[in-house]
């Protein structure tokens, strides 16, 4: 069970993650209210979501199909029969006083996720309804309840405790994120809460036969905090055990401002959820036909897309991987390739575009770069209208203004100078102005060639066609 490269001060951390993912569907799991985010409070609440006396749940087949998709994407077993259970507890944002979830017969079991250097097993993924929201800052002496989120379909993905470090946990989480966003199962937005993560953390001696007692860490809402929270907890548990005490099986909240985990107030009496099969729902037998139908409707998985990109667009492993890491980027690339050169597009997306994205911290979709204006830019580079250096400038202009590159090039007079005659005369004039350097070059200082190129570029404000200039200068200098 020990994995030597992940030991911390001689202890082996063992981590399991529970990820709750809000499923993309038109309506909620058991009610026909719209499944949307960000609307005015209590406007997306159906009779069923209110838990009014006499209302009854009816399963949304769309949510079920999304669950099946996840099972297919993780090579998991899709349940032949899935059953919904009631989990009974009281909380103000839980209208019925119970949550409909799946305990013994979840929709998906025994999946696996490849995080690159190892595989992490998924114990199960099950469907359940989300609760509403309690808000505490509206009044001094009161809290308020918004039931918009009550009944939203969730897929709870529970990993086996195969993760051995905080960074592995992040890799796993990122892979899950990639799968669910690729397949449009969820928009996986951690800050908005459509993807939430709890971590179960324990430590053990490398040669121990059993796992240590685990603590559950909640309230982690970004990839960065996942890593920090787990690392904190590992260190905390080491301190506890090395101090001769024992780890309590408890729930702890992660505090991101203090970067620590804190024990939640323990209740006087344990919460017993008294699970039993929900008598308002009936078991669902998932047929091979349905699974086949979902399979055929599924978009490509990241690995499949990478393979196709390598073949179709003649990309290498690295390029394919980077372009396919986010579906939106991959889609952008393919759209662009319809009208311009794939190789050059790939290079520029991976390089310059990604640099801009990282610098400004917004997504490609939210930026002013469109497949049209980008494709146009690439074409202009390819056909020699502008040089690579100039293209960088143009790209920044597109990023800032969204203007068409044609217009930008024209208005700023950035066309590359490729006319042989013109270039030759400029080159000659540079050489004439720098006769001593020419002599030095001719007597062996090869490095000065770069200087001449630079001077020509200066003369032409960077617009000289680099390849032509190289060739012309060589010719002139050797004559």
């Amino acid at each position: 069970m020990a994995q030597n490269d992940t030991l911390v001060k001689g202890w082996q951390p063992v981590i399991g993650l529970e990820v709750h993912v809000q499923i993309l569907t038109n309506t909620k799991l058991f009610s026909p209210a719209k499944n949307k985010f960000g609307e005015d409070a209590n406007t997306l609440v159906d009779l069923i979501d209110m838990g009014l006396p006499g209302v009854l749940p009816v399963l949304n087949e769309g949510a079920m199909k999304q669950g099946i998709k996840f099972g297919l994407a993780t090579s998991a077993k899709i349940a032949k029969t899935m059953i919904f259970d009631r989990k009974n507890y009281f909380y103000p944002d839980l209208p019925k006083g119970y949550q409909i979830t799946q305990l013994h017969f979840p929709i998906v079991r025994d999946g696996v996720v490849d995080i690159g250097n190892k595989k992490i097993r998924i114990h199960q993924a099950h469907l359940e309804e989300d609760a509403g929201k309690s808000i505490h800052d509206q009044y001094d002496a009161n809290s308020v309840i918004d039931l918009n989120r009550s009944g939203v379909p969730l897929l709870e993905i529970v990993s086996e405790p195969d993760i051995r470090s905080a960074s592995e946990a992040v890799d796993y989480l990122k892979k899950i994120h990639q799968i669910i966003t690729y397949l449009d199962i969820s928009d996986g937005n951690m800050s908005q809460g459509s993807m939430r993560c709890d971590a179960n953390v324990s430590i053990m001696r490398p040669d121990a036969k059993e796992f240590g007692t685990r603590a559950e860490i909640k309230n982690i809402n970004s990839f960065k905090f996942v890593e920090k929270a787990i690392n904190y907890e590992i260190k905390r548990q080491i301190k506890v055990l090395e101090g001769g005490k024992t780890i309590e099986q408890e729930t702890r909240l992660y505090d991101s401002t203090k970067d620590e985990t804190r024990s939640m107030r323990t209740k006087e009496f344990a919460n017993d959820y008294r699970y039993f099969p929900c008598p308002d729902l009936v078991p669902t037998n998932i047929s091979e036909d349905l699974i086949e139908e979902v399979k055929n409707s599924m978009d490509e998985l990241p690995e499949e897309k990478e393979g196709r990109f390598k073949k179709e667009y003649k990309l290498d492993d690295y390029e394919a991987k980077v372009l396919c890491s986010e579906k939106s980027t991959a889609n952008f690339f393919e759209e662009v390739c319809k009208t311009t050169d794939p190789a050059l597009s790939a290079k520029w997306i991976i390089g310059e575009v990604n640099a801009l994205i990282n610098k400004h911290d917004i997504t490609l979709d939210d930026s002013k770069i469109t497949s049209d204006n980008f494709s146009s830019l690439i074409t202009k580079i390819k056909d020699g209208t502008i040089s690579g250096k100039i293209a960088k400038e143009v790209l920044e202009e597109i990023w800032n203004t969204g203007k068409n590159p044609k217009k930008i090039i024209k208005s700023k007079g950035l066309e590359q100078i490729s006319d042989e005659g013109e270039l030759e005369s400029i080159a000659q004039s540079v050489l004439d102005k720098n006769s001593s350097q020419v002599e030095a070059y001719k007597s062996g200082k090869d490095k000065l060639f770069g200087y001449f190129v630079g001077q020509v570029m200066k003369e032409t404000q960077g617009k000289a066609n680099p390849a032509s200039i190289n060739e012309i200068l060589k010719r002139l200098l050797n004559s």
Partner: protein, 93 residues
Amino acid sequence: MDKIELKNLLFLARIGIEDKEHPKILEKLKNTFDLIDEMNELNLDNIEPLNNPLELNNVSREDSDNDRNSKKDFLEGSPESDEDYFIVPKIIE
């Protein structure tokens, strides 16, 4: 069932019953459990539990919306609310 178990049950069910009434309740519960315990005289080997008498399967609906939201009615019909929310005593998390 003993007093502690009763206290736990009362908490799980969020029902308050005065301590002085507990013996009476325990007595009533005991009587009912005496009746229930007659189940133990039955031979239930090899019998599967039955949840739904008709053993129906596969009931679901299309993922299409049907707007039955009535924010005004819901809020006005509640014990305490404002224009937007249901109001409860402060929850300490």
